[in-house]
Amino acid sequence: MDLDPIVVTLIEALIKTIVVIIALLTAFAYLTLVERYVIAKIQSRIGPNRVGAIGGIALLQPIADAIKMIFKEDFWPAQADKIIYTIAPGIAVGTALLAWAVMPLHPSTEIFGYHIDFYIADVNIAVLYLLAIGSLGIYGIVLGGWGSNNKYSMLGALRSTAQMISYEISLGLALVGVLMLSGSLSLVDIVEKQSFIWNVVWQPLGFIIYFIAAVAEVNRLPFDLPEAETELVAGYQTEYSSLKFALFYMAEYINMLTVSAIASTMFLGGYQGPFGILPGVHWLILKIMFFIFVMMWMRGTLPRFRYDQLMGFGWKVLLPLALANIFVTAIVMVIFK
């Protein structure tokens, strides 16, 4: 039976999409457990150790959490905008998942004579696509905050808009240095060019700026002002419960995975091992886990920024540094051409 090549491509893309989504959702479930465990250790507590425990770690805890979440009452605030209140968590998760369409996960290989690329799409504007999808992610938070018809939610949404617009600029500019070195906007090209030396060696400042801005983009401590629990109850997600709350939670963790994967791919060589040792998806997972651990570590140890400090830091420190980084990179590239 001969199939139309377009049909084959579509089926292949569909299978890859399903696999990536299942992997991300599993990773999300277990990240909640890892986060609770790591934070517990940092704070000298025991952490989850009951549900299906093996060696003191509750391996079935995520399933218990999910069942509990599903059976909670799905609360509708009075006067809430029903449509927007409902679609906001969907937008948040949808944009978080879309970013993975261009992520190269593993070197292309031949399996049983069939060539497989381990990415869903290799477009020559992949980095721009990531930034565009990232900028759409704000809508989930903003609409969720506005649709809840609650002062705390609204304040959280306003804060997150200002914060994410401010840090998005530094985030994008931090990546420009890498783009100048690679001469390509395709993530596959960028990874292939780092087969021996990672970009972080040439772009240490860009790497640091990217990581700080990325932590601010995913609203994690010390930049979690949109959901600062001491001032805003829970910010934009105050009114959300049950599955809709779970979706916002999922979006936050998948965004953590996304920014970690972008940092790994752009600066740490993605699936490339150090000095070309055994390239493969295990390196990418290892690097993502490293970034996730650092973010959890920061949550366990750092206090929250004040709002004016947050804005001042973003506009007066990160942005000029990112511009200076591009300037210096350009000069060095021209001199050592």
Binding site: N124, S135, L136, E168
Partner: protein, 168 residues
């Protein structure tokens, strides 16, 4: 083959555009406008301009429209009043709209497109990359407009600060 995505995106864009103009709640209008921007980005991909598609989503949907939503939430103006102060305005607007449509239809029907073609075929753009093609043109032939645009942005920044500053 290209017609199916075109008609889908075009229908989506027109319905959402009508939503922008018709809906009473400004937040709904803004959301509809976001849909218009995304459907236009899809059309740009069909027109082999993926760079513009990404820029469209990033700048229009990700920055400009977020500013709109921010201001709408900040002011929370609510829905438009149903009563019009100027009674003749709505019908007059519709008349002018119809006149505009007729004029545009006439121009499109009578227009003769020039047969001259430049070197940038979709194949060539795909080969050198849409971003590279736009960038090379922007920094050579259009360098002066590009620099003037940066000046315009500076003027806008100063203007916004003057407007936003509290009066003494």
């Amino acid at each position: 083959m290209e017609l199916i995505p075109f008609y889908f995106l075009a229908a989506l864009g027109v319905i959402a555009a009508l939503g922008v103009v018709m809906l009473r709640n400004p937040v709904y209008s803004a959301l509809c406008l976001a849909v218009v921007f995304v459907s236009l980005a899809g059309l740009y991909v069909l027109l082999s301009a993926p760079f513009l598609a990404a820029a469209q989503v990033m700048i229009y949907a990700g920055a400009i429209l977020i500013l709109f939503v921010f201001v709408i939430m900040l002011l929370s103006p609510g829905s438009d009043p149903l009563k019009e102060e100027l009674k003749w305005q709505r019908p007059l607007a519709v008349i002018f709209g119809v006149a505009l449509v007729a004029q545009l239809a006439l121009v499109i029907a009578l227009a003769v497109l020039p047969p001259t073609r430049g070197p940038f075929t979709p194949e060539l753009i795909a080969q050198i990359g849409s971003t590279q093609a736009v960038g090379a043109s922007l920094f050579t032939d259009f360098l002066l407009p590009f620099e003037i645009t940066s000046l315009l942005l500076l003027v806008a920044i100063v203007g916004v600060i003057v407007l936003a500053k509290k009066r003494q």
